[in-house]
Symmetry: C2
């Protein structure tokens, strides 16, 4: 399990290649809660539009420290991790090969190619995704696979979001709320926040429509499937299931899992666009929705931080995704 | 005509009541131009969602310095100035009376009332707007009228946007582009920027559909009407004509007026939402559009600043306003 020291080492390693994103407060969002202040950590303003560049950069740079001859990095992603590996590889003068389902939106594919990443199409099944990665890895000598979240260096890199947030708020937050999908961000942030201040509560937030983390906490062991017919949330970055690795970290570090409805996610997107004037993706709205909709969980918290994990959303769909 | 000293005095006066808004750069916007860097001054992140709070606060505080017994401020506005006067008056423990056309969007009326401003409806004609203001002013003893832009203290207050931008960029910009409607912001910014660095070019940007400033510059005297059938731009904050006061300042200080089409405004909104992850209103997109669409005017400029004047846009319409 990565430690606060691993997160701090990641922060040193990736410094200069990723933004130290700003924090932001909003009088009107704070007024909609019973807290004294609500602080946003703006990873939507991060390079590539999400926190994913942190873990990607840390994992690639660490691999190059251990194996300086590595020139090719491989991953599978239909979302933000693909762009992140593409840019992180480019910044290390390496090649990126991103396995992408053939039905992925053009905007994602353009994003990867915009950072000079090679797009390798696969059929839209988990099996073909893995098989295609293996084919690429065996075809390119000393190429290296970086999983989107089931990787300690990726987790330590994502944890730098939490480290920075605690630094930027003088370790004073009573609670931090972080969206959870596969759990790379949530587990890294939990390690960093608890390491910086063990009294700060850490809650993961997830859609009711993709609530495997919540159910895993209830059961006391990892639930390896979604409910029948699900997931079907607009928070498309949070549809992935935890791995054993991330669930293990979350179980040891989280104070709870908050669930929000699709309507609550849409309302949260609306309030952030309208009042804070920043663009967030639905996955980031999940954290905001949890703070607005779950006051009892945060009843005694005066100062609350929310990780806005990304801002990659199709402009043509923003109004629809943020309808009241 | 206000001077740099008036702008500096305004900056001191309003300090603590308005945000010192951040500047922001975007690799992808800069790459779409031939400049070394494009810097955004983010007044969309200002209190009330636009720069208008600066001029409103300066004018109200200055009036209270001169006439401490003033308790009531009056203005007419169907847009950002109304909310700004409402908040600025509230922060000085005074009352605001905002004359608003009866067909104004509910969101604007809610905004004014959200800052405890009194909304006074009038018919949607210029004559009734002025008559209603006069009625309110004569009904309330020692009440004071603050025009949205035809007022030296308002202009000096808006100029603090330019002063801050120059401070935040170490006076190093080769050009500043500022949207122009009535001209309060543009004239204040021109005074501040030229005062800080006479070598920095200042361009106003306006929609082709509301190009009175451009035509006034061509003619060498103020054009007091729009073209027949116009204005009809999505940049609803820029439909107002210059006054003699603002045109006089602009004529002495501007290096040119850049015009952009409705399509260019929409594309600029799209790129800022998609790449910079911040919400701007169409009026703010006009400045971005001018930099993207008028490269010849800025041919020798390496470092270019753009004033993003506001972010008050109906979330339900964002996707439509920013369509490609």
């Amino acid at each position: 399990m990565p430690t606060l020291e691993d997160v701090a080492a990641a922060a040193q390693r990736i410094k200069g290649r990723v933004h130290r994103t700003p924090i932001m407060t909003s009088t009107s969002v704070t007024k909609s809660t019973h807290h004294d202040v609500v602080v946003f950590k703006c990873e939507n303003l991060q390079r590539t539009g999400s926190f994913k560049i942190r873990g990607a950069t840390n994992a690639i740079m660490k691999q190059l420290e251990n194996q300086p001859h590595t020139k090719d990095f491989v991953t599978h992603s239909s979302g933000n991790h693909g762009q992140a590996i593409a840019l992180a590889a480019k910044l290390s003068n390496c090649n990126a090969h991103i396995v992408v389902p053939e039905n992925a939106p053009k905007v994602k594919i353009d994003g990867i190619r915009g950072y000079d990443g090679q797009v390798v199409f696969c059929r839209p099944t988990l099996e073909d995704r893995i098989r295609t990665c293996e084919t690429v890895l065996s075809a390119i000598e000393s190429s290296f696979f970086i999983h989107p979240f089931d990787n300690d260096d990726v987790i330590a890199g994502q944890g730098t979001v939490g480290l920075e947030l605690m630094e930027q708020t003088d370790n004073s937050l009573d609670a931090v709320v972080v969206p959870v999908g596969g759990g790379g961000l949530a587990s890294g942030v939990a390690i960093a926040v608890k390491g910086m201040n063990p009294r700060t509560l850490v809650f993961a937030a997830e859609p009711e429509m993709a609530d495997d983390t919540f159910r895993s906490f209830q059961l006391g062991k990892r639930v390896a499937t979604h409910r029948p017919g699900l997931p079907n949330s607009i928070a498309d970055g949070l549809l992935t299931l935890n791995s054993d690795r991330t669930f293990g970290i979350l179980r040891s570090n989280l104070d709870g899992v908050l669930r929000v409805s699709e309507t609550e996610i849409q309302k949260a997107m609306h309030i952030v666009l309208e009042r804070c004037k920043i663009v967030i993706e639905p996955s980031a709205a999940v954290g905001v929705a949890a703070v607005l909709a779950c006051p009892e969980a945060l009843a005694r918290c005066k100062r609350v931080g929310i990780i806005l994990c990304g801002g990659n959303v199709d402009v043509a769909k923003i109004s629809q995704l943020a309808k009241l």
